[in-house]
Symmetry: C2
Subunit: 210 residues, 2 copies
DNA sequence: GGTTACATGTAACTAGTTACATGATTAG
DNA sequence: CTAATCATGTAACTAGTTACATGTAACC
């Protein structure tokens, strides 16, 4: 999960850990964090050792405010950064900033994580949708269809023809079950819209000026 | 989570581990297990050491099939169960069955787990609803209202007035966000039904024969 | 007489969390 | 000068998983 998030975000742009966390938080919805520094930094180091990401030289200040007025400060920081123990990828800014980029192996691993049929949990699927734009059209639709089959199976297990089936004696248990069914039905409807949207876009590309 | 599931199920009926697992699986919906033996049995032992559950003498065969014809087998098993090393709570059946019941401390802990305002994850809330019948009316409604406030806050963070807000550049990201909003809205509607239902029931009890 | 279901348990591993330690830069 | 924010990292812990080990009883 964490690997998918990191590789997916780095595919589009080189980033350092702190920024990475902010983006994952924004992505999964600020409700419920989903990525703490305590897991992020060890993961980055692990991915670097595995050759899936690499530290790159920091690009020049992505900030906006008082850049012209702060140029002296900037150069001073740049000077400090060349002191003994300097790490590649830090020119200014609080504590050395380590910017990572995706390697070719990392891009391959990302494709793997996006299509791997195992691990069908909901959070992973959300991340896969978030990064599915990096997949070829056919595989993207396949991903959606696989999810669809999964949810359909779940729904059938949950709604076994008879309205009040096995052991739902209590009112709250019945309501809980109904909500489960409702949620999955809603998910399926959304997935169908997603798939339809996909086919529509494919059509537009086939016949661009009919 | 696992403690809540165990204590909640034992509140109503004394059960052994294997049966416990089957019931949790049935409860949370057979899609996605949620409780493996590898976590269940250690948890039971931990809860027993903590004095929240206790092993009880096995009640006589809860099974149904060939009870009359199998009485000899049953007595034979009962005899074997008294061999050296016998554990309380096994009269027949493959391998000694250890049946657990809730202690008073366990019931207290259950009430705590059901009302504790911390830990607002979705799976825990589902379990809380499943066992909320063990809560007094007022606390049950409070539980629902607290959840409602939580979801409302999440929704507001997610839908910040402007339709296409911060950095939702890509089509799939936009659809993902829309789905998040839709899901929470659906959850909120269900919760409102739940709360309304609760008030209705409270009314029925206040004026039983008007 | 072999497969399946019942039944309990341990060990090693996975995937994360919180709390802590450290330190530079920026805004007031 | 002080607080907030940016930035990276470690250690200890939490909460589970899978795979393994063991054994009985029921079914065909």
């Amino acid at each position: 999960m964490i690997d998918l998030a990191i590789l997916g975000l780095l595919k589009e742009q080189e980033l350092h850990g702190y920024e990475l966390r902010k983006r994952v938080t924004a992505l999964l919805g600020p409700g419920r964090v989903g990525l703490s520094f305590g897991s992020l930094y060890p993961a980055l180091n692990r991915l670097e050792r595995a050759g899936l990401v690499k530290a790159v030289e920091a690009q020049d200040r992505p900030r906006l405010a008082d850049w012209s007025s702060g140029s002296l400060t900037g150069e001073l920081a740049a000077f400090r950064s060349r002191l003994p123990g300097a790490r590649p990828g830090r020119t200014r800014q609080g504590r050395s900033r380590k910017v990572y980029g995706l390697t070719e192996a990392g891009a391959g691993r990302l494709a793997e994580l996006l299509t791997d049929p195992g691990a069908g949990d909901d959070r992973t699927f959300a991340l896969r949708v978030a990064f599915c734009r990096f997949l070829p059209d056919a595989e993207r639709v396949e991903l959606f269809e696989r999810r669809r089959a999964e949810l359909t199976a779940r729904l059938e297990e949950l709604a076994p023809s008879a309205p009040s089936g096995a052991g739902l004696s209590h009112r709250h248990l019945r309501l809980l079950r109904e909500h489960d069914i409702e949620t999955i039905t809603c998910d399926l409807a959304w997935l169908d819209r997603l798939i339809a949207d996909e086919r529509e876009h494919a059509d537009l590309q086939e016949e661009p000026s009919l």
